[in-house]
Amino acid sequence: MRPASLLAAPGLAVAMLLVSAPGAFAFITPEAGGSPNANSIDTLYKLVLYIAAVVFVVVEGALGYACWKFSAKRNKVATQTHGHTGLEIGWTLGAVAIVIILAVATLLKLGSIRNPPNSGAEAAASTTSVSGALYAETERKLPPNKKALEIEVIGRQYIWQYVYPGGAKNGLGAPYSYEQMVVPTHTTVLLKAVSMDVVHSWWIPELGGKIQVVPGYANYTWFKIEKPGLYRGQCANICGQGHARMIASVRAVPPAQYEEWIAKRTQEISEANVEAATQRSKLEAGSGTGRVLNP
């Protein structure tokens, strides 16, 4: 094969892949489908993809054509040109126009990605009012009716911990879980992510973009799941030897089932705390084994 056709081949292959079937798009688009923000990102991504595909085909096409048409074999004498001001101004403005289209599209789509919607009518009863606009929390977005389930995500080497609302007024005794987060469907869930040690990154692809979890800062995101199911992800920022195994999952269950689960969880933790207190007093009295039940 000729060099030029060898060059054009991968371009053609990708171009064919782009236009062949809707199935091909799943292959080259981000994961989505769990939450409206993930779906909006997917839409925005596809818009960029369409524009990119056109630019790709046109520019690689022009390059491939020039390489084929103007090879020394086909074109013995080169035309001595130094440039073309009109053409050059034209393609500079063309590039600027594409950039403006992308910027406008991004800003139009931004609201549905950043701003959480209200929970559905069938949302979990434990959805509470959340207060907004604490200072230094300007990036924390609330749904219009200010009602959501707020879960704290705590990153540490190499496990995710989730703290659910509940427990005593002093913040102690709140139900929590590790690795797997359980949430009710039809409910807007706000996440506040903090780190206990190094930088981590929270990412469940089907539920939206990732947020970096930086020690000393809080970072925020949200999701709202309609379909019960298991959504998987893992830490996306290198955090040490165990980084690849710092996995996370979100299990979405119907609201009633969530209420049951959270009540049972609260119960277990409170029992374990009582057990621990008993063990501790025994230990202090010099008669215990020091065994603490790990909830």
Binding site: G11, E31, A52, A78, T81, H82, G209
Partner: protein, 568 residues
């Protein structure tokens, strides 16, 4: 003007003492050409080391849940790989080429500060040795971005992290001294008549490379100094529990880190702008636009750093601003690509290996530029950031981008440096292996990232098509490595047995071809007056006008040049 009255332009370089030889001549040299060759040999050794690390990682990722390499070693491998390729290969390899060719291209006899030039090289070598010495103890493992607190003494107690800090200091100092030298040389030592509008485009990009280094490198030097004092002298610059800030590191690192991207790619742009006109046999399309876009890129390069931090806790207004500036920087980059295609258009393209690497670069770099636009859309970046999509993107711009132009430069300038031509057959074989190997390795990595695989993981579960995709990538990496090996063999063989090149084997345009191959110590006996951006074309035309004959080569008087070439 009036003093230059050579009857016919001719290449003559013999009014000097015999060149000193032997190993002491290398360690004591201040000759820009010898320093340039030492730079190139050293950086290619590091390129092979960094490449080997990459192949080990691809071996580990060739199968899901592989246990070939343990997590600690894997983390060390990607830290060494990234650091090596950036600080010990791509940045200094351009310093190597610029050292050798910048004075030749502007008609100077050496760099402005020859001894400082030697210091630049020895600092680079010292940085590389300090860094690689850590493999005998514990190498660093916090990634080439070394985010604290992971890189702090609490989480990375080994001296490997300190070796990394010293590497940044030493290579950074080396780069700054080199950059000052390039700038001073370009500003003061150009041949008569070489105005800014007649500066070769490679020299334009070296100028911009130097300015970027002078502004960006001190920032990373400061950042790693704070990390060093945090680690060993009890300060808390990055420690949030003591009022420090992790985001301070991110901001300083990327304020350096993004200009660094252009430091690595701009001389490559310059290289393509030099090589395309030679083999398309027509002038570069839009000289002014190409030169201007380099300067525009340099300015914008300092306004886009936070696009590496889109998922970090930063305010919306910053996200929106950086998205806009990142879009903007795509415009001058796109303009360059259009101008290169314009240069090829209606030319008479001779498919030399150097030209193939340039065209392959444009084809690949376009994809890297397009994936960069995806990453600039910050809500989309929230999905793509820290995934294999970013790994694919960085390799499309750095490996298929910068490294392909480095290979183009090797094939284009090897005859000038050694006096011998490289084998075109092996060269083309190497190009096609590298081109297809590259696409196999990295195209599929976009998909791996979109499927949710984060970067810097030593293993992945066997879900979906991840196993197949990663296997494809691993096989591609070995094809790519084979292509690189062919060029190494080609170079090693051609130094000894390559055909004699003569002063100007490509009928090129710029002044480095107006001397013998390799050039004598003083480069030129007579430095000609420059009348356009393509002085060699002017000389040929001048000879044709005076002698009335059509010529292929600017003549070399007996006894001046070939002796040096045949003695090599």
């Amino acid at each position: 003007m009036a003093t230059y009255v050579a009857p016919v332009p001719q290449i003559a370089a013999h009014k000097v003492d015999r060149e000193s030889r032997g190993w002491t001549s290398w360690i004591t040299t201040t000759d820009h050409k010898k320093i340039g060759i030492m730079y190139l040999v050293t950086t290619f050794v590091f390129f092979i080391l960094g490449g080997t690390e990459a192949l080990l990682m691809r071996l580990q990722l060739g199968a899901p849940e592989n246990t070939l390499i343990n997590p600690q070693t894997y983390n060390e491998l990607f830290t060494m790989h990234g650091t090596t390729m950036i600080f010990l290969f791509v940045v200094p390899v351009w310093a190597g080429f610029a050292n050798y060719f910048l004075p030749l291209m502007i008609g100077a006899r050496d760099m402005a500060f020859p001894r400082m030039n030697a210091l630049s090289y020895w600092l680079l070598l010292a940085g590389g040795i300090v860094f690689y010495a850590s493999i005998f103890w514990t190498p660093p493992s916090a990634g080439w971005v070394s985010y604290p607190p992971l890189s702090s003494i609490a989480f990375s107690p080994s001296g490997g992290q300190d070796a990394w800090i010293y590497l940044i200091h030493l290579t950074g100092l080396s780069s700054i001294l080199g950059a000052v030298n390039f700038y001073a040389t370009i500003a003061n030592m150009r041949a008569r008549g070489m105005s800014w509008g007649r500066l070769p485009l490679f020299v334009w990009t070296v100028l911009v490379y130097s300015i970027l280094i002078i502004f960006a490198m001190p920032v990373i030097a400061g950042a790693v100094t704070l990390l060093l004092t945090d680690r060993h002298f009890g300060t808390h610059f990055y420690d949030p529990t003591q009022g420090g800030s992790q985001m301070l590191w991110q901001n300083m690192f990327w304020f350096f880190g993004h200009p660094e991207v252009y430091i690595m790619i701009l001389p490559g742009f310059g290289m393509v702008s030099e090589i395309l006109p030679v083999f398309a046999k027509k002038p570069v399309f839009g000289y002014k636009a190409i030169a201007t876009s380099s300067v525009t890129i340099a300015f914008l390069a300092f306004l886009v750093w936070a696009h590496h931090m889109f998922t970090a806790p930063i305010p919306l207004v910053v996200l929106a601003f950086v998205m806009m500036s990142s879009y903007l920087i795509a415009v001058p980059t796109g303009v360059k690509i259009f101008n290169w295609i314009g240069t090829l258009w209606s030319g008479s393209i001779e498919y030399s290996t150097a030209l193939l690497f340039c065209v392959g670069f444009i084809a690949i770099f376009l994809i890297g530029g397009i994936s960069g636009v995806f990453l600039a859309v910050f809500p989309v970046d929230w999905q793509l950031n820290e995934s294999y999509f970013v790994v694919a993107h960085i390799h499309f711009v750095l490996m298929g981008g910068a490294v392909f132009t480095v290979f183009a430069a090797v094939y284009y300038w090897f005859p000038k440096m050694t006096g011998r031509l490289m084998s075109e057959t092996l060269g083309k074989l190497s190009f096609w292996l590298m081109f297809w190997g590259f696409l196999f390795t990295f195209l599929i990595q976009h998909v791996i990232g979109l499927d949710g695989m984060p970067r810097r993981v030593y293993e992945y579960p066997n879900v979906g098509n991840l196993a197949l995709y990663n296997l494809i990538s691993t096989i591609g990496a070995f094809i790519l490595a084979l292509g690189i090996l062919v060029t190494i063999i080609n170079a090693a063989r051609s130094v000894k047995v390559g055909a004699i090149a003569g002063p100007d084997p490509w009928k090129a345009n710029t002044l480095e071809w107006f001397t013998t191959s390799p050039p004598a110590v003083n480069n030129f006996d007579e430095i000609p007056v420059i009348r356009s951006v393509e002085p060699m074309k002017d000389f040929r035309r001048e000879i044709e006008r005076r002698t009335g004959q059509r010529i292929e080569q600017v003549p070399v008087p007996a006894g001046s040049g070939e002796a040096a070439a045949s003695s090599l």
